[in-house]
Each structure stands twice: as structure tokens, then as C-alpha cells.
Subunit: 214 residues, 2 copies
């Protein structure tokens, strides 16, 4: 059975959501943050020291998108993935990378703010302009896609939706770009967050959930 | 035929490398940077305004990793990809995301440096510490994997190698983490950069190549 090593208030909640969507059994190991940071025992799970991490027998696998695809292919018969011969295969591939790319830009803005002591980032307007343009580009493209399709990668709910939702909900609480100007994205978030598997997963491991007592 | 929209001195050179490895035909459209930035006609190719971009009939696809997988599956019979039933499938999935994650941290450092006017980043040691720990974690994990395997994802050359090499060569020229302390990674770079398809691709579209005259 797959063990999800869940870091509290982190994007590892999406792996719980994935398992609930697929109706697969899993064991949840909960790690609380210490002073906002992942505790040493979490960092020791994987050499790259990132969240989420799953273990499956001897396998230790990090990286949300890799975990989603692995679980879908090895345990879900490819459900929630999109096969190469499908017309929306390129969209699926693209949006499986969207979340990490947007988070790279998010961390860049956080780092710039931290380094400037919270002052306006006037030191390098080219850098600020490029970061902002890129972030807006990613969100605008998602808005365009959701004008044509109910889900990120086309007609069906897929791992790509499991990947991107964190950016559209939790990340804005920490200073990520909001979606106030993106009506299709807003409607999408409203729809997706009503899914029973999502509600169950957030109750178990979402940002407001707490470590279960043994 | 696939058209590669190549932005000069950018990671879009890896798509030329991919096509040369697979022995597939392609058309190369070259775009020079203006004052270091992508020109407006490049930014107009895709709503997210990132490089690389390919076009294939009506399809406009951005995102290196998505392009690699799309080309491998649709035109290369899955060559350079790893199938879900293979033992190294999880490694393949993981390293198809490594490059973007490392670049997110790279941009974060650039942004922090720019915002601090080049001063030491003393404003937020927690942020600096987390960024550095994460970047080191990614590189240390690659070093560990290359102690066991000749390629990033195991015994064979794959799209994962096409993805990560840019970070190990070009990115350090712009301030990315160097690999001086990683002997397995150094040996790997030495081996990979001798591949005939790589040498041909770099002569055509690498950072020292120039726009071909018509």
C-alpha cells in the first residue's frame, strides 16, 4: 500500500485528493511544521528534501506531478491521465507542468520581496517586469483554456486539475497571484472544490486539517 | 513537419537536440533577442509567452518537457521516453520535472539579488536558507542517481537527459549553481556533451550559434 508522507499545510494534500478521486487505499503519515518549516524527519525522507513524498515498498518518490502520473499508471489503469493518441494529450502534458512553473515565479517574487526588505522592487525593473509578464501569461493561458473546456486539459477531470488547483486556492493565501480578474478560472475553482473526493481530502489533509490523534 | 521556434541563447536549443537524437525532420525558425529579451514576435507565439514553442499544424505547444514527451510519443514511437511498466519509470517521471524546479530556484536567487541591489541577502535568512537547501537537495539527488546509473533516469539516454543538461551547462553561465563539487554529474556532462546529436544541435542552435543567413 502507498504511504503518503503529508507535511501539514502543504501541497502534499493533493496526493490525498488524488487517492480519493481514484478510490485507492493509502496510509497517511502526518508531519507538522516546526516554526513554519518542514521538520528534520520530513527533510530526511528524500535527498531533495521537498514535499510531497510517497513510499511504495522500497520506492521513495518525490514531486507531485511524478507521483500523480505514477499512481495513475501503476494503480489506476491510466485513469486521470490522458493517453498519447488522444487529441487533448498536448494540453495534458502542458498543464502537468503549469503548477511548478507558476510556483517558481511565486518563489521568485517572495525572494525578491524578502531581499528588498519589503520595499518596492525598483532595483531591477526588467527582472520584475519579466517575472510579472510570465506569471500573467500562465494565468491568462489557463483562463483561455477554461473558456473552451470544463477542465484544464479538456473535457475530463485529470491529474492536471489535481496539480493546478493548489496554485489557485492555497498559494494566493501566501502572496500568490489572485484570480479575481479571471472569471473562467473562478468558475472552475467553484466547480472543482465541490467534488466529493476534494472535500473529503481537504477534511483529512487540507490547510485547515490537523494531525489525527492516534 | 514540426517547426521549432528557437529563441537565440535559450533552452529551446534542447528541442533541436531532441529532434537530432530522434532523427526526425524539422523546420527551424530563429528569433534573436532584443536587449537580452525575447522579441515581441516570439512572445506573441503562445499566450504564456515562454520559450521554447513548437508548432505542428494547428497545434502551438510550449514547455520543453511537454514538447519532449509529445514528440517522443507522437513521432518517435515512445523512443527516449520510459513506459509505465519499466522499473525506472518513477525516476523518469521525477527527472522530467527536475529542470523546471531547479530553474524556479535559480530565478528566485536572481530575483533576490536584483531586488537587493546585489547586496548580500541578509533581509530574510530563512528564505535564503530554504532556497539554498532546496537547490542543493536537487543537485545532491542527481549526484546520487548518477553514482548508480549512467543517465538521469537509469540505464538509457532519455528525454530526462535532454531536459536537465541545460541546467548543468548554460544555466551556470548566468549565475546558476555550478557542479564543481559533484564528480558524477561532471563525468555525466562530459559524456553527454560528446554525443553526435548534441554536437550537431549545438552547432545549429546552441548558445554560440547564430541565426543562419537565408
Amino acid at each position: 500500500m502507498i504511504t503518503i508522507h503529508h507535511l501539514g499545510v502543504s501541497q502534499s494534500d493533493r496526493i490525498v485528493w488524488l487517492m480519493e478521486e481514484l478510490g485507492l487505499p493509502y496510509k497517511l503519515e502526518w508531519y507538522d511544521r516546526k516554526d513554519g518549516l518542514a521538520p528534520p524527519e520530513y527533510l530526511a525522507l528524500h535527498p531533495a528534501a521537498t514535499a510531497p513524498v510517497i513510499t511504495d515498498g522500497d520506492l521513495v518518490l518525490a514531486e507531485s506531478a511524478a507521483i500523480c502520473e505514477y499512481v495513475s499508471q501503476r494503480y489506476g489503469k491510466g485513469r486521470l491521465s490522458v493517453a498519447p493518441d488522444k487529441p487533448n494529450y498536448p494540453d495534458y502534458l502542458y498543464f502537468m507542468h503549469w503548477s511548478n512553473n507558476v510556483q517558481g515565479l511565486f518563489f521568485s517574487k517572495l525572494a525578491a520581496n524578502a531581499a528588498s526588505g519589503g520595499q518596492p522592487q525598483s532595483a531591477n525593473p526588467i527582472m520584475t517586469g519579466v517575472l510579472g509578464r510570465r506569471e500573467n501569461g500562465y494565468y491568462r493561458y489557463l483562463e483561455q483554456q477554461l473558456a473552451k473546456n470544463p477542465f484544464a486539459a479538456g473535457p475530463d477531470f485529470t491529474c492536471a486539475d489535481v496539480m493546478i488547483l493548489f496554485n489557485l486556492t492555497s498559494l494566493s493565501r501566501f502572496g500568490g497571484r489572485t484570480i479575481d480578474d479571471l472569471p473562467n478560472v473562478q468558475a472552475y475553482v467553484d466547480r472543482i472544490t465541490k467534488r466529493p473526493a476534494y472535500l473529503k481530502a481537504m477534511a483529512i489533509a487540507g490547510p485547515s486539517a490537523t494531525k489525527p490523534s492516534k
